[in-house]
Symmetry: C2
Subunit: 286 residues, 2 copies
């Protein structure tokens, strides 16, 4: 399948990310439809021209006419949806997703689908501190990473199609990782950082501190405003990888604690120099 | 003493912050002199008009003519300087500083000074990830906090003078805290956040991660580029308060770890809601 504007794309779940996908695809001339639960969200998206057509129920016609279906649901809702409605998907349809965890999901979805329907997973690493289609804004893709996450069951064609989708959506970088590497990377770069920010905000309840806050504290805790329903599910869905990264980080934090406690200034300075050097690399690539 | 442009201000230590002080004061019409070790820094500051006059040695004349002396040195260098040269400071001179820790320093300096010389401590909560007078830029004060840190030995006049200095320098907010409250606040808002960023950067040495980094990781680790000489001294100078904040944070992080390990989603969500609510407060005040 070649991804040109003659293709019909169905979005299942019109939240923040589903809305961003629809916006970006409409701008490129695609015919975009949606299935989403809330009537308000559907009315809003139709009135704003974010989608061409949609339904609040699982309409067989919308599924049948779609060339590509993008699932923008929480992990467990995605699996439930496929269990209940997977049979309605036509042979030849390619399905993809936006889920932030992969290992717990990709193999199960692939096993549930009937032959001729291919699921190629993707993770658009973009988001906002607010949710819902009313906050959708496809400019969040501009500086962001899009990761295609194939398994051995995927075809070359579907992987290429999914990469092309990432480019059409306007992502800065498109790359490919297997589910295990993806989950490990996400555990460190995204989930651990959210754990740190949440822990820091919960560690001190002195409201007077707000008065003295500087930029470093604000930057570090920006992500402490968090969608608790979604992130608690993501953390538990990637439990093993996340606990491993938390343990590694805690060990390093404890090492620094011991340096301070035992006045080991040389070891402390050596950690600071490693930190400075590594962080410098992240700046260059940004 | 009233802080008008007839006053002569001597900066001891022309690094990043000393340079910012000189710049801001010169713009307001003050006569600014400097004593600093490196001939290069002095030549640079003179050639750029950042100071009016200066010396690389402790020149009695510069100290004698100054109405106010600002010490922009590392804590231990500040104490050594006063021990060696304190006698040169004239009666009636007010001295202040820029040091990021207070309890370990303020009482000792005050005890070393001869009668008639008053030390009123201050902490300009501003900085950059780079150092030296060549990187000085007084616009860093614009959004920042300036904390005056008096002890019971300070006079009302000196406290007011020091607050006025913070306003003249262009700080967004000027407030007053005693040394103990200051050090507690700094341990949490500034030192703990630097410990976290350094630990996170040292916890994972996979260079490939750079490719997938998003904004949240970059924001959280911005301060991981750190002046190891200065910060290791600051950490050790505020050891007790910092270790206490590290322990509190570590306990909260462990609680979140246990929630994930034992699938306690409700407790996890409750922490996330507390975090979201508290972080919201910090936004409002920003």
């Amino acid at each position: 399948m070649k991804l040109d504007a003659s293709k019909k794309i169905l979005i299942v779940g019109l939240g923040l990310l589903g809305g961003c996908y629809a916006m970006a695809l409409k701008k490129k001339g695609f015919y975009v439809t949606a299935i989403t639960k809330e009537p308000d969200d559907l009315t809003y998206a139709l009135s704003q021209g974010i989608i061409d057509k949609g339904s609040t129920t699982v309409e067989a016609e919308l599924i049948k006419e779609a060339d590509i279906i993008v699932f923008a649901l929480y992990p467990h809702t995605f699996i439930e949806w496929i269990k209940e409605n997977g049979d309605l998907i036509q042979e030849g349809t390619v399905i993809t997703d936006v889920t932030g965890v992969k290992g717990c999901l990709v193999y199960e979805i692939q096993a549930l689908l009937k032959p001729g329907v291919e699921f190629i997973a993707a993770h658009p690493m973009a988001g906002r501190e607010v949710s819902g289609v009313r906050n959708s804004d496809d400019s969040i893709f501009k500086e962001a990473n899009y990761i295609v996450v194939p398994t051995e069951a995927n075809t070359f064609g579907a992987i290429e199609l999914c990469k092309e989708l990432g480019e059409i959506l306007g992502f800065a970088r498109v790359s490919v990782l297997n589910p295990e590497k993806h989950d490990e990377m996400i555990a460190f770069l995204s989930q651990l950082t959210h754990c740190i920010a949440v822990s820091l905000m919960c560690a001190n309840d002195n409201p007077g501190l707000v008065l003295y806050t500087g930029d470093s504290f604000r930057d570090l805790t920006r992500i402490a405003r968090i969608n608790d329903e979604m992130w608690s599910e993501l953390f538990l869905s990637n439990k093993d990888a996340l606990l491993k990264e938390m343990e590694k980080y805690r060990k390093t934090f404890d090492k620094l604690y011991d340096c301070i406690k035992h006045n080991d200034r040389e070891e402390m300075r050596s950690m600071m120099r490693i930190s400075t050097e590594r962080r410098g690399e992240f700046n260059k690539k940004s």
